[in-house]
Symmetry: C2
Subunit: 193 residues, 2 copies
């Protein structure tokens, strides 16, 4: 199976001294079940839903040839919150991206994460609350991680102690644990639904 | 500094149960000197020089905005050898890619690696011998790793024991050591030349 992770710096794993991020840790764990698991990390720093909408399709198509089983995981919204993209635009972009992706591959969406600046954090939480129902309408599993990460001191703690925006190995490790422990993820990675 | 690694499955790190590959191990080491080091892995399985020529520019431009220091590392040629791309085509593609990249960013090229099938391995070694002089003409540092990996039993040994093509953590770890130990790499990562 080939898995593309599409999103922003939190998908890239920016700030992790281990250079795994949450995606590398999830892949490392899942490989014990499926040794033929290839991961492609398509997280780009500062990308909003608009920039992801413009690029995700061609970058994913190059990496998921039809003769191999391919799946796509998305996570974005934080930079929309930081750059004050209107929520209606973020949701329109998300609907376009996710709807088109789902027509071709099994798709999983992870919600935006908490960030240090309080205004942007509040907008990120608002997006989390709106992206879940959108995914529900599209029939795409949506994992909200906002509250669980907010309840984990290491997430914002490492961000404040680091570059002010990104966690380190502890935060990304905790996020990977949250993903791996969720029944939504477990069902999706097993069956694609 | 933001570093893009552009190439094939050996750049992706396919087969590594740690999901670091040689690029992740190199980043992890270099970060001790420069904490603000972001890596983008743009290795795609089965990509030849032709496919890389068609995509590298737009994928790298999205990830290296001009306001941040960006550099590009290339490594390809193995799939040209496997798919019997004429050597003249590989060299023409390499010249187009590397010449254009060097006009914009500091560029480093790592040569193709040994692979299990003997015919393709021989063609891969031939490309290694031709890409070095090309890079020399372009003023781009070229690190040949072919003979050093061939002298490392774990490289082909893990490939044979694994999926028949890709090494595991031992092989990728050894390749990262070869890169990090080379004076070419050390000079380039320090100064970009």
């Amino acid at each position: 199976m080939r898995l593309c992770f599409v999103g922003d710096s939190m998908v890239n794993g920016t700030g992790d001294p281990e250079y795994l991020g949450w995606t590398g840790r999830v892949l490392r764990h899942e490989r014990s079940q499926r040794p033929e698991l290839t991961g492609y990390n398509l997280g780009i720093r500062r990308d909003t839903s608009q920039q992801i909408r413009a690029r995700w399709r061609e970058e994913v198509m190059r990496r998921l040839p039809p003769e191999f089983e391919g799946r796509v995981v998305f996570s974005f919204g934080v930079n929309d919150a930081v750059q004050e993209v209107p929520a209606a635009d973020t949701l329109a972009n998300a609907q376009a991206i996710l709807g088109e992706a789902k027509a071709r591959w099994p798709v999983f969406m992870m919600g935006p994460v908490p960030i240090v600046p309080e205004d942007a954090r509040s907008r990120s939480r608002g997006l989390d609350g709106a992206l879940g129902p959108l995914c529900s309408r599209l029939g795409i599993p949506y994992l909200s991680v906002f509250d669980a990460l907010l309840a984990t001191p290491v997430w914002l703690g490492e961000a404040r102690a680091g570059d002010g925006a990104h966690p380190g190995a502890g935060g990304y490790g905790r996020l990977a644990e949250i993903v791996l422990a969720s029944s939504l993820w477990q069902a999706w990675i097993r069956s694609g639904a």
